[in-house]
């Protein structure tokens, strides 16, 4: 059996989700040009989301108020369901590094902030279900 050669840098507890079992989350800072400070929030880890980030109404309201109107508009698709979104170009801090990404804000309210594969693929993650903890790691050189 091959041993893991990663070093754990950070641990993040699973979060309780309304009406569902606990889910892995990551703490993020989100910044857009024009903002004076970053917005910090928890994001659900969603490996089914193709894009990097989907933002809640609360985050969208701050980004819009301080950074101005969306950069563009684009729809996300879930099967045959179209979800129109405002799109904002933002920087996201995951652990200790900042990454540029597109943040999708659905025009319908009620969505949680989700971190999708475009950003997840920049990290080493280990969701440990039985202990309800996500390890964030770096590769040992």
């Amino acid at each position: 059996m091959r041993r893991c050669d990663l070093s754990v840098m950070h641990e993040s507890d699973y979060a309780q989700v309304e009406g569902a079992t606990e889910a892995p989350v990551l703490p993020l800072l989100i910044f857009r040009k024009g903002m004076r400070t970053s917005a910090g929030t928890l994001a659900l880890i969603d490996t089914g989301l193709d894009e990097g980030l989907l933002i809640s109404k609360e985050v969208r309201d701050i980004i819009f108020a301080e950074g101005g109107p969306p950069d563009t508009h684009e729809s996300l698709w879930a099967g045959i369901v179209e979800i129109p979104c405002d799109v904002y170009l933002v920087s996201v801090r995951i652990l200790d590094k900042w990454v540029r990404t597109r943040a999708y804000a659905p025009i319908y309210n009620g969505y949680e902030t989700l971190i999708g594969r475009t950003l997840l693929n920049t990290t080493y993650l280990c969701p440990r279900g039985p202990t309800k903890t996500t390890y964030i790691a770096i590769a040992e050189s």
């Binding site: 903002m35 400070t37 970053s38 929030t41 928890l42 969603d46 989301l49 990097g52 099967g79 999708g116």
Partner: protein, 96 residues
């Protein structure tokens, strides 16, 4: 449009592009009904049509980005809090 028929057509197109005949057979519906639904789905931008010399072939449009389980479940107690930390002028990565 009836949801069940749309589901059958979407399911039939999941693997690969197909002709109307093939879709109608897989979805167990009539050719005319199948064509009517495909025309509607084409108008909605869900599928696209390619015409060959012998038949009309339908497939999913590939431009879509999305996700499998669009859920609106919220994290209990999740709040947006402000942080003085902002990204450096340089050193912001672009994901591959």
């Amino acid at each position: 449009m009836e949801t069940e028929i749309v589901k059958k057509i979407v399911s039939a197109l999941h693997d690969s592009p197909k002709s109307i005949n093939q879709i109608a057979e897989a979805a167990d519906i009539g050719w005319k009904t199948c064509e009517k639904y495909l025309e509607s789905l084409k108008l909605l931008g869900i599928v696209e049509e390619t015409k060959t010399a012998r038949e009309r072939v339908f497939s999913f449009r590939e431009r879509r980005r999305g996700w499998f389980f669009p859920h609106a479940r919220r994290i209990v107690g999740n709040k947006v809090e402000r942080s003085e930390e902002i990204p450096p002028e340089s050193g912001v990565e672009m994901p591959g």
